[in-house]
Structures are given as C-alpha cells and as structure tokens.
Amino acid sequence: MKDFLNRSLRTTIVFLVVGGILMLALGGYLSGASRGITGAFIALQTWFSTRYNAIQDFLSAPRDIATLRQRNAELEAEVSRLQGQVIELQQQVRETQILAALVDFSRANPESTYKGAAVIGRDPSPFLHYVIINRGSSDGILRGMPVVTNQGLVGRVDAVIAGAARVQLITDPASAVNVRLQNAQADAVLVGSVTGDLSLDMLAQDAVVEAGDVVLTSGLGGGYPPDLIVGQVLNVRKLDVELFQRAAVQPAVDFTRLQIVLVITNFRPVDIQPLIPTASP
C-alpha cells in the first residue's frame, strides 16, 4: 500500500513537472532555452548533412563527369554538324542569289537562249586566262559560243569535250573583242593582259571618251553578239603623237569570283577569215 502511494506520488510529481515545463514553454518563458537547444540541434544536423552531401558528391561525381563529358562531346558534334549545315546553306543561298540574278538576266534578254554552267577550274598556266566549265558538247555547247553572266561579258568557248568546255576570258592577253562606247558612239578593240586588266585599243583620236562611259560589244567581226555589257571606262590616255587613244576599262564581271556563267547557245560566230583579202603573189 505504501509502495503504491509512493509510485503514485512520483508519477504525479513527474506529470506536474512536465506539465509545468510545458505550461512555461507555451507561456513563452522557455524561449531562450529552447532557442539554444534547437540551435545546437540545427547546427549539428547541418554539419552532418553537409558532410553527407560532400561524401555523396565525392562518390557520385566520377559518374557525373563521365556523363557530362559524353554530353559535351555530343553537343560539340551537334554544333559542328550545325555549323557545317549553316555553311552549306549559306553557300546554297549565294548560289541561289546568283542563279536568281542569272534567271532575271535571261528573262530580260529573251532574244538569246542560255545554258547555265558552273566554273570548275582554271587554266594551270599563269600566262593564260581560261576557265573550265562543267557543260560540254553533250549539252549543246559549241566552240565560239559567247559566255556571259548577269553582270556582263565573260568570254567565249575555246574548246569543248563531251562534259566540259574551256572558255577564253576577255582578260586573256590574246583576247580581242570589238566593242563600242555607248556615249561616244566610237568603236574600239578591247584587249586583255597578263594582269587581267582590260584596255581599249584602236580608239579613234577624235572620239570624245570620258571616264564612266559604258563599253558594249559592237558585234563587228561576228565573234560576239552586239550590245553585251563589257565594263566602264576608267581613264583615257590621249597623246597627239599616237594614232589612237588608249583607255583602261573596269570589267563589269568580277573574274576572281566567277562561279556560275551562262553560255549563249543560239549564237553562232561568223568566220570572216575567207573574206579577209590576202596578198596575191
């Protein structure tokens, strides 16, 4: 009986103490102590958590690096592929622009029929200005046919095989094109040079020529059709002691960037050689 009373008293005291502490805590009287205790717990938990994360990172990092490296390689390959695609598309855009300009040119000049060709090479000899195009006799290309771009005259076909042709540029030192000056109404001969510069020869002394005058083919001699744009006069050299004036010509075509050309297929050059009188014995 006595033991039972003692246990009940202890239990009651414990309840009272715990209840008292709870009451004090709920009343806000233990906030300082609880802050200190919880702060210590939080600090301890943070320490453990940080260490755990560090260990977890250390154990799992190699797998992540390998994954990242693989992903990086994949992305780099993707970037390379896309860059290649961009370059290819830019090239296609350039070609399309050139082709569109050539189509415009052929529509604006419906009197001629054209065959488009790509420039695939140049003459290996630096003395000669010839290019090779990827259209030949199987495409209806014949020797002597004029070659143009939308900018102006390029040259004429010099030799043909089945699938390709060689074109003599008007900048070739051996090239001579009969031309006329649009404003001056004067005829001249356009000759090339090793440097690719063009000049007018056989230009009459009394012709009034100025810088900027447009140079067109005259059609004389039958080698080229008339009225194809060749270029513009850059400057004129007129000396009284010479028979003819000379003039430098800026070509309309950029021969360093020749990519696609048009061959005029309905023009047949006229061979005037039999008409040229020869000295009789």
């Binding site: 695939i120 090479g121 140049r122 003459d123 290996p124 000899s125 630096p126 003395f127 000669l128 010839y130 090779i132 010099d158 030799a159 060689r166 003599q168 030192p173 051996a174 000759v191 040079s193 090793v194 440097t195 690719g196």
Partner: protein, 166 residues
C-alpha cells in the same frame, strides 16, 4: 605495275592544280604543283619511272591547259632531266637539290612558255612576264617544295619499299 600509281596521283594533281592551286595567285603568278611533284619524284625514286611520270603529267596538263602541248611536255622532261643530273651530283643534300631543280625548272618552263607565246602573237612584255608571273610563280613553287618533297618521299617509300640487307 608500280608505275600505275602515277595515274591516280597525277590525275589528282591535275584536278587540284586546276580547281584550287590556279586560283591562289601571287600577282599574276601561281604555283605549278605538277612541276614540283615531278621534281620531287625524279629526285627521290631510285627507279627511273620519272620519265613516264613526266610524260603522263605533261599529257594531263596539256589536256586541261590552252598552252601548247610541246611547251608543257618539254618543260616537264627538262625538269626531270635536271633532277636526274642533280641527283647524281648533289645526292647528299636532297633538299638543296630539290630547291635547285624547282628554281631552274620554273625559270626554264616559264621562260620557254613566254618565248612560245611570243611566237603565237600573245602580247606579253618580258618585264610583265618576269615581274608578274615568273618570279611570283617561282616563290610559290619554292613554298610548295618542302611539303611536297616530304609527301613524295613517303609515297616513294610506300611504292618502292627499301630492301633490308642482312
């Protein structure tokens, strides 16, 4: 049979020359890859297939170029002959021989071309030919000399492996 390797190599050289090398200009001059290849091959190989190489190279270049065939063939045969001559005399310094062959060969070939073009009424002055074409071409050929020599040496070792003497 080993001479047949000349066909793919020289066809590739002509394509490269026409499509790429001829567009790389210094003033008005450009490198002559075929000449450099023939010079390197004639200096390197111990078996005299270089005459066949020169013949084939000359025919291929003549097919592409407007230059008269005899200028090209004569030029390349001259280069090979010069290389053979120097190979016997300067055999201890192949790079020096290579530069010498390129120098003399380029001058010989380009000046030969100039003379023939004069006969064919191409209005080119000697000053223009020398200053704008021959000397720039010579410089470009000399620039190509070493890498081409190294490549041809490897090719020659591959085509004609050196026999091990026991």
């Amino acid at each position: 049979m080993r001479t047949l390797v000349a066909f793919p190599v020289l066809i590739l050289v002509v394509i490269l020359q026409s499509a790429v090398i001829s567009r790389i200009r210094l003033l008005a001059g450009c490198a002559d890859l075929m000449l450099v290849i023939l010079a390197a091959w004639a200096l390197k190989t111990d078996i005299d297939a270089s005459w066949q190489w020169a013949f084939l190279g000359g025919i291929l270049v003549s097919f592409v170029s407007r230059m008269p065939w005899f200028v090209v063939l004569g030029g390349y045969f001259g280069v090979v002959a010069l290389a053979h001559l120097l190979r016997r005399r300067v055999w201890q310094a192949p790079v020096l021989a290579m530069f010498s062959v390129i120098f003399v060969g380029t001058m010989f070939m380009n000046l030969g071309a100039y003379v023939v073009l004069q006969f064919l009424s191409h209005p080119i002055t000697l000053n223009d030919a020398l200053g704008l074409i021959v000397l720039p071409s010579l410089l470009l050929n000399l620039l190509f000399a070493l890498p081409v020599y190294a490549m041809i040496r490897d090719l020659a070792h591959w085509v004609y492996p050196v026999q091990e003497v026991e």
